[in-house]
Subunit: 206 residues, 2 copies
Amino acid sequence: MSETPPGKGASAARAPRRVRADAQRNLKTLIKAALDVFAASGVDAPVREIAEKAGVGVGTLYRHFPQRSDLIVAVFRSGVDCCADAAETLAEEHPPLEALSRWMQHYVDFIATKRGLAAALYSGNPAYDNLPAYFEQRLVPALKSLLDKAGAAGEVRRDVDPFDLLRAVAQLSNSAPGDSEHTRRMVALLIDGLRYGATSDHKPRQ
Amino acid sequence: MSETPPGKGASAARAPRRVRADAQRNLKTLIKAALDVFAASGVDAPVREIAEKAGVGVGTLYRHFPQRSDLIVAVFRSGVDCCADAAETLAEEHPPLEALSRWMQHYVDFIATKRGLAAALYSGNPAYDNLPAYFEQRLVPALKSLLDKAGAAGEVRRDVDPFDLLRAVAQLSNSAPGDSEHTRRMVALLIDGLRYGATSDHKPRQ
DNA sequence: CCTTATACGGAACATTGTTCCGTTTATCAA
DNA sequence: TTGATAAACGGAACAATGTTCCGTATAAGG
C-alpha cells in the first residue's frame, strides 16, 4: 500500500528501510503452514508445530503474529478472502448455475478446515470479535452475486437469503465431521432445492 | 442409592468396604468450590485454584475427577439438577405466575455462572456430548410444568415452547456479560410477553 | 488396637503459549 | 564491492496449566 521508496520522505522522518525479503517470504510461508496444520489438527494445534512446518523458529512466528490468536485470525481472513475472490473467477469461467455450485463446494472445503474455530469464536476472547462481521461482509456479497446471476438466468429461485445459505452449509459441514461425502451430498441437495420453483421472468434478452 | 452395608453381598464378591467419610466430604466440597470458582473466573479456571479453594491437594481432585472435563460436567449437572428441583419447590410455595417468574430468575443466575461453557460445548470434546441432552431433558419438563400451571390459571398464553424460552433466556444472558441488571430486565420483559394474549378458557374450577 | 484398603497431598512431569537475547542477514550508502 | 546497521531470525528459557506418581496418613472393620 505505502511502498515509500528510498527517495526522501515527504515529511521529516528518515526513509524507513524497505521490509526485508525474507520477512515477507516467512509471513506467507507461516500462513500457508498454519493453514495446513489447522486443517489437519484443528485450530488448537500447537504453535511449535506450525513454526516447524514453516521451517522457522517460534521467535519468528511470534514476530509476525504476537499472539496465537493473531495467526488464527490471519488464516481465517485469508481463507475468507480466497473464497470471496473465487466467486468472481468462477462467475467469469462458468455458466451461472455451475459457478454457484462450484463455489458452494469451494466454501464447504473452506469450512471443513475450520475445526475448532467455533469454540474459539465462543471463547469470549475479543481477538475474534470481528471475525463474524468480516465473514459476513465478504461472503454474503460474493454469494449474493452468484445467486443473482443464476436467478436472472432463471436457473434458481430468487427468494433465498445468501446469509441463510452460508449458515446452513456451515451447519451441515459440522454435523458429521469426517464424513465429507455426506456433506457434499447434502449441499448438492440444498442447491437442487434452489432450483425448485425457479422462474425465468427476468430472463436475459440474448 | 446403592449403600451396600456391611452385610454379606448378594452375589460373590467380598463385601466392598463402605466409601470413606472424608472422600464423600471432599467430593461435595470440590463441587462446591468448583461452582464458586467457575462462577467467578469462568470454566477455564485452573484446577489448582479449585483444589486450593476446596482445601485439598490436586491429587485428591484428580482422584474424584480424572479429567478436568469431568469436574465441569459434574458442576453443570448439579446446577441443572438444582434448577429442575427448584421448579417443584417454587410451584408448591407460590402462585403459578410468581413461581414461573422466580424460576426464571433462578435459571438466569444459573446461566450466569456458566461463562465459557459455550466454548467448551463447541470444542468437539466428546466429554461434553451429553450435556445439551441432559440440559434439555431435565429443564424442559420443569419449565413446561410451570408454564402449564400458569397457562391453566389463565395467567400466561399457552402457545410458547419451553425449549424456545430456555434458549432465549440463555442468549439474553450472554449478550451483555457483566450487566446482570440488563439481563434481569429483559427476562422480566419476556415474561410480560408471556402474559400477552393469555386466555382463561381452561380456568380451573375452584 | 491392629491391619489394611482407601484416600490424601503435593512434588514432578509434559505440554504449550510467550519472552528474551545473542546471532545472522538483507538493505543501503559510500 | 564493501562496511555499517537496523531488521529479522532461532531457539533456549520461562510461565502457566493439565496430569501422573508415589510416599504418607487415616477411616473402616475385625
